[in-house]
Structures are given as C-alpha cells and as structure tokens.
C-alpha cells in the first residue's frame, strides 16, 4: 500500500467502481480499497442467504429456503433502463462482456386500490383499464407528439416551445386528465414527486423518450436486470479497473484521509500510507464531510409466490404514484426471482421502498406490502440519504451521494459523470473508451 497513486478510491459500491474504471481507463494509477471483505458496499448482493439473515439479526433460515448459496439478495433495488446511461457505460467500457441480463417482464401502476399493467403497445393500450376511450385518444396524440418532436427542430414542435413552457402547459395542450398525468409523470417519466409539473417540459419529454426508446430495445418492458443480482455491476467495473492496472484491496481498514494545507495527500491504514493526489469515496468514509438530507426505507420481502395480479410474472415493477396514497413521493415495488439466479428455486424477492416522510416509515410502505400476498420473511432498513458538503474542487476529495429511492440507475450515473467532471475538468468521453478498447495491440 505504501506507494504513490494518482487516485485512491474508497468503497466498492457501484459509483466508486464505475469511477475507478473510468480513471484507470484514462491512464490514472488507481488504488481501490474497501473496508468490507466483499465487493459492492451498499450496492452489494448478499450471499449466501444465511449472511442476509444474520445481517438483519434474524435466526438462520430453515431448510425451506433451499441452498443458501443460490441466493444473491440486493440491498438496494434498481433496474437498468435498456437505453439508459448505465447501459451506455457498460457497452462502451466493454464491461457488458462479463454480464448477462434479463428483461423485466412487466411494469404495473397502482390506481384506485388496484394495479394495472403499463401498456407497451397499441394493442395493450386499447384494452387497458387505465383510461377511458376518449382519454386514450388524447393520450395517444400526446405520445405521438413526444415521439415526433426533435429538440433542435422547432418545426416539429407544433407551436409548443418545450423549453419555455412547463409540463402543466403541455398536459393542457393535450387536455390530459389528472389520472393520465399521474400515470405519465410517475410510470413513464419516473418522477418520484410532482415538482416536475411546474418545470420546463423538455425534461419530462426527454424522460418519456428514454422510456420508449428503452422499451423499443427488448419489448417486454424498458427495464433490464442482471443475472446473479445487482452486485455483479460493481464487480464488473472493478474488473475493468483491474485490467487497466488498478490495484484492489478488500478487507482493509481506513483510518485517516491525510490532508495537507486543505488538500488531500494520502490515505492511511494502520501504519501504511498510500500517497495520492485525489480521493474518491462513498459518504460512509467521510462522516464529517456529508450531511443528512433525508431517509430511504427499503423492505426486502422473501416470497414463495409471484405477486398477485401480475400474470405470474417472474420479475416486475409496480409504481404507486404518491397521490394515489396521499403522499409526496412514490412507493416502488420491485420483484426478481429464481429465474435471475438470485433466489432458490420457487422463491421470489420483492422490495418495497420509498423516501421517508413521517416518523413511522414502516406504515408508509404498507400500501406496497399489501400488494404482495403472504410474506415469508421481511427485512426492513431505513438508511440516511447523505450528500457531500464538499465539492472536492479544493480538497480533491470527491464524495458520492447515497443511493436514492429511484427505481433505476439514471441518477446514479449522473452523479458519477458529475464527479468525474469535477475531478478531471473534462466530460467523460464515451467514444474515447470505445476507441481505446478497440485498439488492443501491444
């Protein structure tokens, strides 16, 4: 460890592993350390099942749960948007070669006490009970407009300036009712609350385009999920970093981030010091440089059946828009299962999560839990959502934010790209990596 590095990365969560990979690829000498003896930090998938039970201080699982090793249980539930930033990163860095994915089978939205499938084509849209007949026609016109509009070509805007008008104005243009707005903003644009309605329409349009472009890639839903769980993602990026010369040390205690004149100069573990010019880390490594801005509740539920009313789907997502249950932020339910090699045969893992709004978070997720049918085992965690108080520009310590309650990785990637830009002064050039990877002569 007593060496000189360009960068020391602390924690092997997904964000830190992507950063480590990006830095190594750009020629930096990287040391990547984790205090745990496993990869993934907060974004690990826990295996075997016994470790999950002991992590939550529950008595060991009985034999009904099958082989403990067949389980890989995510601590944070998320899916990948098939046309989203993380998929772009995976493809451009070649990390996709280490991974296999499955499409999530269906996406559902909660309306008036029951769930309905989010339609994925004309046929499903026509038979959907989400909207009345006339509303369906108006919604279709809206979608056609979104698909056809080009950001840089005002001729395609049909008289509506998406930059200088808010989303409320766009909804009015197509006379969409409150229920359709709810469905559009939360199940398609994937907003967690209703703030977007007052903001420039272009952001929502981009999100709806991302949704439909993602849907177009694989058909069943816009979401992908990796075989063996989300914990494979940080491992894949860590391997990328290692291939480009990054050094890995797990199970290594970090005692001090050594500063000199307000700037980082190294990282100390016991008597050893790794000298470095920059440090990248998750918020848990720098408690004095982060502030708590909220909390996220996540409840892992082990089921021996699919979620009722989803056509026995082996994977699914259900969005409960905030207004449907008188909240300010949506509740998310995700389901994965033995088909993804994350549970023993016949088993399902559901996760209910949301941003905490009250002093009693467990009651907040009840509408989600009620959708699941009988739950065999439940593990609840409430985590602080931490944000850095230091942008790193002077200290050269770059801190990621905690993982938020969103159901996909878009905000995760934006944080990573932002940190990369702050640290290197340049945007991460996706094309450059691709070029370098294609150039593998000695």
């Amino acid at each position: 460890m007593d060496e000189e590095y360009d960068a020391v990365v602390l924690g092997t969560g997904l964000k830190e592993c992507i950063l480590s990979g990006m830095l190594s690829v750009s020629g930096k000498k990287v040391l990547h350390v984790d205090r745990n003896k496993y990869y993934g930090g907060e974004s690990a998938s826990i295996t075997p099942l016994e470790d999950l039970f002991s992590k939550f201080k529950a008595p060991p699982p009985d034999e009904n749960y099958g082989r403990g090793r067949d389980w890989n249980v995510d601590l944070i539930p998320k899916f990948l948007m098939a046309n989203g930033l993380l998929v772009k990163l995976l493809i451009h860095t070649g990390v996709t070669r280490y991974l296999e994915f499955k499409s999530v089978e269906g996406s559902y939205v909660y309306k008036s006490g029951k769930i309905s499938k989010v339609p994925i084509d004309q046929h499903e849209a026509l038979s959907s009970d989400l909207m009345g007949l006339f509303e369906k026609r108006r919604f279709r016109n809206f979608l056609v407009w979104v698909q056809n509009m080009q950001e840089d070509d005002p001729k395609t805007w049909d008289g509506f300036d998406p930059y200088n008008n808010n989303m409320s104005a766009l909804y009015n243009k197509f006379s969409l009712d409150k229920n359709t707005q709810d469905f559009t903003g939360h199940a398609l644009a994937l907003y967690r609350d209703d703030e977007y309605i007052g903001q420039s329409a272009i952001n929502t349009i981009r999100r709806i385009k991302l949704y439909s472009d993602s849907l177009a890639r694989y058909g069943k839903s816009p979401y992908l999920y990796p075989m063996y769980g989300l914990g494979e993602l940080p491992q894949g990026f860590a391997r990328l970093s290692a291939i480009y010369g990054g050094t890995y040390m797990l199970d290594k205690r970090i005692d001090e981030i050594v500063m000199k004149d307000g700037k980082v100069v190294g990282v100390r573990s016991g008597e050893e010091v790794a000298a470095c010019k920059q440090v990248f880390c998750d918020p848990t490594y720098v408690p004095d440089k982060v502030k708590k801005v909220g909390q996220v509740i996540r409840c892992i539920c082990l089921l021996d059946h699919p979620i009722p009313g989803t056509g026995d789907a082996l994977s699914t997502q259900i969005i409960i828009p905030q207004k449907q249950v008188n909240r300010n932020s949506d509740i998310y339910v995700s389901l994965v299962s033995h088909t993804h090699q994350v549970a023993a045969k016949g088993w399902f893992i559901a996760m209910v999560s949301t941003t905490v709004e009250t002093g009693n978070p467990e009651t907040e997720i009840k509408p989600g839990l009620d959708l699941l049918g009988p739950i065999r085992q439940k593990f609840v965690s409430v985590s602080d959502y931490l944000e850095p108080t230091d942008d790193g520009l002077n200290s050269q310590v770059f801190i990621s934010t905690s993982y938020d309650a969103t159901t996909h990785f878009e905000t995760t990637c934006l944080d990573v790209l932002d940190i990369f830009k702050r640290a290197t002064g340049e945007e991460f050039d996706f094309k450059k990596v691709k070029h370098e990877l294609g150039d593998e002569d000695q």
Binding site: Q235, A242, G245, T247, E440
Partner: protein, 229 residues
C-alpha cells in the same frame, strides 16, 4: 495519448486472437463448436499470464509485466468432431490481495490452477485455490493443476510425485508445464478440452444459458437470445 504505465492488452476478438495460430493443435475439423469459460488461478508471478500468452499467441516474454490485462482471450482446440473454444479469463492482478470477485468464478466450466515448481509457497497456495474452487465454483468444474516453470528443474522444490498424488486425491488433471519452452502448454488445454462435457447445455461459453448479453454495437437493436447461439 499512450501511457507507458498502461498494461499490455490483447486483442479480444476471436479472429484476432487466433491470428496465425488458428489451426493449432489438431487442424480445423468440421462439426459442432462448444464454448467454455476457463479461469486461471494461482499466486502472483507463477506464470498464469505467460501460459495463456504461449497457448493463444505462441509467444513468451522473459520479463512479462506483472499484470497482463485482458477482458478475456479466446483460443480454440480441435478434437475429433468438436471444436472447443476457450474463453480464458485472467485474474487481472485481483488475486494479489485476495480480492478476486465472485463474478470471476461464476459459470466457469474449467480452471487451471498454476504454481511454480521452484517455490513451495505457491504450491501450498494452489491447494487453497483448489479448495476455493470446490467451494465457490460450479460442482462440475474441470480443474487442472499446472506445475509451471518446468524449464527450471535444477531449482525444483516441489516434487512431481507429490503434486501428482495431490492431484489424484482431488480428481484434478495434472501436468508440469513451461510457458518458456512451450512444454505441455497445448497439452494441458487439450486434456481439459477432452474432459469437458460436449452436450448441448454444456458448451455455452460461461454463460448461464439463460440471460442475454447486451449488444456491443450501439444504435443497433439488440438481438435477443444467447450470445453464442
């Protein structure tokens, strides 16, 4: 933008990796193609990367950089009616501080555990890698033990009989090899190829045969189905 510190990387495309050596060792035959994931394990500096470099490219470098990075290399071995294509994973140095990720073993159908015949510690370490494989990897994995640097027989400390006995007890293939002289290098891969099951489910290149890999070409629609079908 070349950086001297950047490790050497191989071409990973099959046609590139096979350039000039595609016919080895038995010549091309018609028939089915099976693809297998093979992982290398062993202490640093025992010659894991050199063995692969010899097998895939027919090369040897006396002062090989400590970490040869490659996503994975591919090389084919031709048996009577079957072409066995190995997808060979190197540790990328992640074994050095015991930081190999579980992903590395995932779906591996074959492993070569390498030690250095001039270094007793590397043999002891090899036995712990074998235990690790028995614990972590798929139960049907074919494991070969390679006593490398056989060209340095005058400095030998690990006896061939001792290693053979250990291999027999644990059901491992065993050969002493030399990446430098090429002794037994093709042979050990060939022996593994022979021992691997060649039925439909088996030869799917380290994939679980159930998920899909994402399309590499951006802007194109991804093709559904398995990567190797």
């Amino acid at each position: 933008m070349r950086n001297i510190r950047r490790p050497i990387r191989f071409r990973t495309k099959d046609n590139m990796a096979n350039r000039g050596t595609a016919q080895r060792p038995n010549g091309q035959t018609q028939g089915k193609i099976c693809q297998f994931k093979l992982v290398l394990l062993g202490e640093s500096a025992v010659g894991k990367s050199s063995l692969v470099l010899r097998f895939v490219k027919g090369q040897f470098h006396e002062y090989q950089e400590s970490t040869i990075g490659a996503a994975f290399l591919t090389q084919t071995v031709c048996l009577d009616d079957t072409t066995v294509k190995f997808e060979i994973w190197d540790t990328a140095g992640q074994e050095r501080y015991h930081s190999l990720a579980p992903m590395y073993y995932r779906g591996a159908q074959a492993a070569i555990v390498v030690y250095d015949i001039t270094n007793q510690d590397t043999f002891v370490r090899a036995t712990t890698w074998v235990k690790e494989l028995q614990r972590q990897a798929s139960p049907n994995i074919v494991i070969a033990l390679a006593g490398n640097k056989a060209d340095l027989a005058n400095k030998r400390v690990v006896e061939c009989d001792e290693a053979q006995a250990y291999a027999d007890e644990n059901g491992l293939l065993f050969m002493e090899t030399s990446a430098k002289t090429a002794m037994n290098v093709n042979d050990i891969f060939l022996a593994i190829a022979k021992k691997l099951p060649k039925n439909e489910q088996a030869g799917n290149g380290g994939s679980s045969g159930q998920g899909r890999r994402l399309a590499e070409a951006e802007g194109q629609k991804a093709t559904a189905g398995n990567c190797c079908k």
